[in-house]
């Protein structure tokens, strides 16, 4: 599903440049649930941003579902993001003046789906994350866990090939974190490929595979016994 080879990325900081990713080789098959771990500055978020086409690599190849992702202009990247990827962010990134349903329906708007169909599909996914009762509420009226579930519904509504989660539990307490991870496991069990960036060992244990980054290279990559939550 995901196949990257020799990925390099550096950031310009004034006159000097900061080499963040120093040759990453990584593969993920369909249906995997991978935790990408590392301390801050290890390059894990940068890797996720490149995988998510939110940022561009300097060097290396990237295949997503056997399609080579290269020469991306903004328009093309936007289309790929919309078709292939779903995002879950640490700070939820819901649009604050849209209610839960409208937030979930937004990716479908950019796909050109009619308003009626959008709302129907969005409601299905809200139901999936258990929030169909809350569809008309604004983000400010939802708890942190609820917001993240809305964000997950939004990430799934466009039926992406891969779900990318950047510290999805970073802003949540441990109880809600577990609930959110339970939801992610459930989605994974339905066959979705999911990458979770985290620095919490407890969260990583709930995944099927753990990749550890340090100073821009992968230092560890192993399958683990998933801790299932019921």
């Amino acid at each position: 599903m995901i196949d990257i080879k020799n990925l390099h990325k550096s950031y310009k900081m004034g006159n000097s440049s900061l080499h963040v990713l120093k040759g990453i080789d990584f593969k993920a098959d369909e249906g995997e649930l991978v935790a990408i771990m590392g301390s801050s500055g290890s390059g894990k978020s940068t890797l996720l941003n490149i995988l998510g086409m939110l940022d561009l690599a300097d060097q290396g190849s990237y295949y997503l579902d056997n399609i080579e992702i290269k020469d991306l202009d903004e328009t093309k990247a936007a289309k790929y993001r919309n078709q292939f990827l779903g995002f879950v962010f640490q700070s939820f990134n819901l649009i604050n003046y849209k209610n839960a349903l409208e937030n979930v329906a937004l990716p479908l708007y950019y796909r050109g789906i009619s308003r009626k169909d959008r709302q129907k599909q969005a409601l299905d996914y809200l139901e999936k994350v258990g929030l169909n009762q809350w569809s008309t509420h604004l983000p400010s009226e939802l708890s942190g866990g609820q917001k993240q579930r809305v964000a997950i519904a939004r990430a799934l509504v466009s039926k992406p090939k891969v779900l990318l989660a950047d510290e999805p539990t970073g802003a949540l307490d441990s109880k809600t974190s577990t609930e959110v991870m339970s939801l992610i496991q459930q989605i994974n069990n339905e066959g979705k490929t999911i990458l979770v960036v985290t620095h919490e060992k407890d969260i990583a244990k709930m995944c099927k595979r753990v990749v550890v980054l340090k100073d821009g290279v992968i230092v560890e990559d192993k399958k683990i016994n998933q801790k299932l939550i019921h």
């Binding site: 903004e74 328009t75 289309k79 993001r81 700070s91 003046y97 950019y110 308003r115």
Partner: protein, 411 residues
């Protein structure tokens, strides 16, 4: 880009962000409103200004006599020059080609009394032509005529305000006798004049009568002559010059002496006034452009702010699959829609205000019937809409280029 769905999305965004929508709309409406009102006031100022000078006939020369400042032909310096009746006759004779009308003026202040009412007024002893020079409008009775002049009649024609002061609003002054100084005079007419109070607080009597009262002399203070309007400005200047030469010769004044005779030429004044009027027009236009520019800057500011405020939202939208084009489109349509709607509101408010002001500001502020022609109003509104669009486009373009990841970090 212009599908129904796009519009719905934009309307939802606007209605969910009422304060933002209102603020940017208000800036636009205020900009165009101020432009229209100021421009209209400028036009009103011009109106009032022109009216001041339309009150008098514009083809009139006024001749004043002064004291000489040079000796000439055996006469000493500082000699008082005085016009006389035969000057009038000779001007009539010699300037037939130019001349249209002529009237002498002898100004005096006199005590005017009727029954118990009494007050001091300006009187002007004249020939009938003066009525036409001043553009008097008759409301009762008749004007003075040639017969009154010849017969040295003790008749007066009074201004509207004199009649109101002396006779009140009810009594008809025509046919009544008043005393002017110590002599009785019969009122034969009442007139009005649009030149202001001063022009209506005056009494006219035949100049021959005034001369008779003053020991039967034949002096006059001033002479007013009008020339045929078709002569134009060049003709007026030539007439003035010849008239001066003629009188200087007749009164033995040194041609280099500027103090002996003074001629006021309304045609010359008019030219000056037209220039002043043009300067006023420049000022009006300048003020207009200034306000329009201020409006444009205001809109640009608010647009930059609006886009800045939405950076994160736009980042989220981009992460979810919004193309740069759709980001620009959304912001642009929104800004053009707001500027168009509120621009029209501001325009109509401004035009409505000007329409209703009319003459209410004329008395105190010299702004009469302020107006803006519809082309200027619409043109200014369109300019503001175009610049509102550009002002929205530039930050929108920049926002569309921003990487979603940077926008998402923007807290």
């Amino acid at each position: 880009m212009f599908s129904r769905d796009t519009w719905i999305e934009i309307f939802i965004t606007m209605s969910k962000n009422r304060l933002r929508t209102f603020l940017s709309g208000f800036t636009v409406a205020l900009g165009i409103f101020i432009f229209i009102v100021l421009y209209g006031f400028g036009n009103g100022l011009k109106n009032q200004f022109q009216e001041f000078f339309l009150d008098e006939a514009t083809n009139v020369l006024t001749l004043f006599a002064g004291k000489t400042s040079m000796p000439h032909k055996g006469f000493k310096s500082s000699r008082q020059i005085r016009f006389q009746n035969d000057d009038i006759e000779e001007i009539k004779l010699n300037f037939n080609f130019f001349l249209e009308d002529i009237s002498p003026i002898i100004r005096r202040n006199s005590q005017v009394s009727y029954q118990l009412e009494s007050d001091n007024y300006r009187t002007e002893a004249i020939a009938p032509s003066q009525h036409f020079f001043e553009k008097n409008v008759l409301i009762k009775g008749r004007f003075l005529n040639e017969q009154d002049i010849i017969n040295r009649e003790r008749y007066v024609v009074m201004g509207r305000l004199v009649a109101e002061d002396i006779f009140g609003l009810k009594e008809n002054p025509v046919g009544k006798y008043i005393s002017l100084g110590s002599s009785p005079f019969k009122v034969v007419g009442v007139f009005k004049d649009s030149g202001g109070d001063n022009e209506e607080r005056v009494l006219y009597l035949p100049y021959t009568t005034r001369q008779l009262l003053e020991k039967n002399n034949d002096y006059v203070d001033q002479i007013k002559v009008s020339f045929r309007p078709e002569l134009g400005y060049i003709g007026a200047i030539a007439f003035e010059k010849q008239l001066r030469n003629f009188l200087e010769e007749k009164k033995s004044i040194n041609p280099k002496d500027k103090k002996g005779i003074f001629i006021r030429n309304v045609a010359k004044d008019l030219k000056k006034n037209q220039e002043f009027s043009r300067v006023l027009q420049y000022i009006v236009t300048f003020v207009g452009f200034g306000t329009l520019l201020a409006g444009i800057i205001g809109i640009s500011n608010i647009m930059v702010f609006v886009v800045k405020e939405r950076t994160k939202e736009l980042g989220i939208r981009k992460a979810l699959g919004a193309t740069p084009k759709s980001v620009i489109g959304t912001i642009l349509i929104e800004s053009i829609f707001i500027t168009t709607l509120f621009g029209c509101i501001g325009m109509f408010c401004g035009v409505f205000l000007l329409k209703n002001l009319g003459t209410t500001l004329a008395e105190d502020y010299f702004i009469k019937n302020p107006y803006i022609d519809i082309y200027t109003a619409v043109f200014a509104t369109i300019i503001l809409i175009i610049f509102g669009g550009i002002a929205g486009y530039i930050p929108a373009k920049r926002a569309s280029k921003i990487k979603p990841i940077e926008a998402l970090r923007d807290e």
